[in-house]
């Protein structure tokens, strides 16, 4: 089985910050907007180097999204930055009308997604954002898995014409994607090849899925691990090729079961290849305060939960 070396540990939001700075250097049309969370989003470096292309919106997210949509008229590529909760739920109608329906080239960049926001609690821990964003026509939804991939994705979306939702997080997590790896929107990464079960994950759950595959291998179970960094458009071929081989699947995400990656995968399978699926995700409940690690354990999003789900799905084959 392919072994993954931990290249270091960093937060994915820092990957966004570095990617934004780098794409800002490469593409003069890139502009950035932030709603009073410049430090949290790691946008300070862009602000320092390109003060004329940085727009501080204050704590007024609806106006920020509306302005970003307007800024595309004349050719700018606006990146908006705030927490995932305020990037989606708070401004759903603004995104729906001014960005998605109007097909504006806005990049909605959302940090502190999910339970791993931690101690601030459920008011800030959005677990519905992937669902909301993937329901919108014209919207591309990307959830990269580590620092390097978040940086690569941040740069890649500038070349994609159309609205994008880019979701990343707060905690320091392992880096395992090579810094020079090619990131292609809509093309899943097959990280580990296997024959008994397919694990499809996104975001912070990808590393945990690798850990789970390693533990399963020790028990004689061969798991294929797919990093589904693009939830929409979904790489249906990668899913069908893999599940066609393994005949069962576990999906894993730091998101509500309703509307997330698991739902998207189930839709593909039910249409083309109905086979057993188990889900790792948050089951119709809000989060709470705690450390990120404690919350991932309490809400069933940890490595042992993936192992358990694999064993359950194998019995249903």
């Amino acid at each position: 089985m392919k072994q993954f070396e931990i290249l270091g540990k960093k937060d994915t939001r820092s990957g966004f910050g570095e990617g934004l700075l780098e794409i800002g250097r490469q593409n003069p049309d890139v502009v950035a907007l932030c709603a009073d969370l410049t430090g949290s989003l790691k946008m300070d470096a862009f602000l320092k180097e390109f003060p004329d292309r940085f727009f501080q919106a204050g704590i007024a997210e609806a106006n920020m999204i509306g302005m970003a949509a307007g800024m595309t008229i004349g050719g700018k590529i606006p990146y908006t930055g705030t927490f995932a909760n305020f990037s989606t739920g708070r401004v759903y109608d603004q995104i729906r009308q001014s960005v998605a329906y109007s097909q504006k080239n806005v990049k909605i960049c959302a940090s502190h997604a999910g339970l791993t926001l931690g101690e601030d609690g459920a008011t800030h821990q959005i677990l519905e954002d992937i669902g909301m964003m993937r329901m919108l026509p014209h919207m591309t939804v990307i959830v990269p898995c580590d620092f390097n991939q978040t940086k690569q994705a941040t740069m890649a979306i500038a070349d994609h014409k159309g609205p994008v939702y880019l979701r990343f997080g707060r905690p320091v997590v392992p880096i395992f994607i090579q810094p020079d790896a090619k990131f292609t929107i809509g093309k899943a990464d097959i990280l580990i090849e296997g024959t008994d079960v397919t694990i499809i994950a996104c975001g912070h759950l990808v590393w945990k899925s690798i850990e789970a595959a390693q533990q399963l291998a020790e028990q004689g179970i061969s798991a294929e691990v797919i990093n589904m960094h693009t939830i929409k458009p979904l790489d249906e071929k990668a899913i069908l090729d893999s599940v066609g081989k393994t005949k069962c699947v576990v999906t894993a995400e730091e998101h509500m079961l309703n509307g997330g990656l698991g739902d998207a995968v189930a839709q593909v399978l039910s249409r083309h290849m109905p086979l057993p699926q188990e889900y790792v995700g948050v089951n119709d409940t809000f989060g709470e305060s705690g450390t990120p690690d404690e919350l991932m354990v309490k809400y069933g999003l940890d490595t042992p939960n993936i192992v358990e789900a694999v064993k359950k799905v194998l019995k249903r084959k």
Binding site: R53, N63, G70, T72, I73
Partner: protein, 280 residues
Amino acid sequence: MEIQQLQAIASQVRRDIVRMVSGANSGHPGGSLGCADFLTVLYFEMMKHNPDHFSMDGKDEDLFFLSNGHISPVWYSVLARAGYFPIDELSTFRKLNARLQGHPSTDKKIPGVRMASGSLGQGLSNAIGAALTKKLNNDNRTVYTLHGDGELQEGQIWEAAMYAAANKVDNLIATIDYNGRQIDGDVEDVLSLGDLSGKWQAFGWEVLEMDGHSYPDLFETLNKAKTMTGNGKPIVIIMKTEMGQGVDYMVGSHKWHGVAPNVEQLQEALIQLEETLGDY
């Protein structure tokens, strides 16, 4: 253009409005009629724009955003009469497969429309964004918007108002259709705007007032607003209008906000509105 010519265009625009809404048996005639004079003067006299070659980016053109998208009939008519798309297309308003959606959208690529609107309160933010991009592009043209007065109850308007003043977005002229009516009744009764001029002043805007049916006033105030651009402050014009202006039984009542006239009512309206440029 002479005032008489503009008035003739506006008369035809009003005919278009009532015919479109009646033809679709749905739509919003009241506010549309009230803004016919303003939009006619804006598009045929004030703005530099290019109806023959519409471009989404609108570089080196003045831009217009309709924030209160439900008065799409008046905008569509003015756009068609200005040459953005065939006048005959007005007959497709609100019909299946039409580019003229009930509320303006870019979805079907209708020339002249740069942003969807209808869910209220978003157009000022959109316009500020476009104005910021003009500044970045060293494009010294102006961005115009139109808003309903009831629409000002939306919080996003005031987020945008705060931003534009704090950041000196001075290539922006917003106009409020101050007709005092909204769906449920008088704005004063539904949710009073209070001292509207004072509110905008307190937010740091230059505030002008204008009679939306007086052509001399439209000329004078819009030209004055133009001269005030580039001075570090956004500009808002509070434009007094009558909902339903031009059709006696609609004037001054919120009841025609979103109701289509029937065949008899349409005839009664058309008698009052001279056909100046030929019906579609």
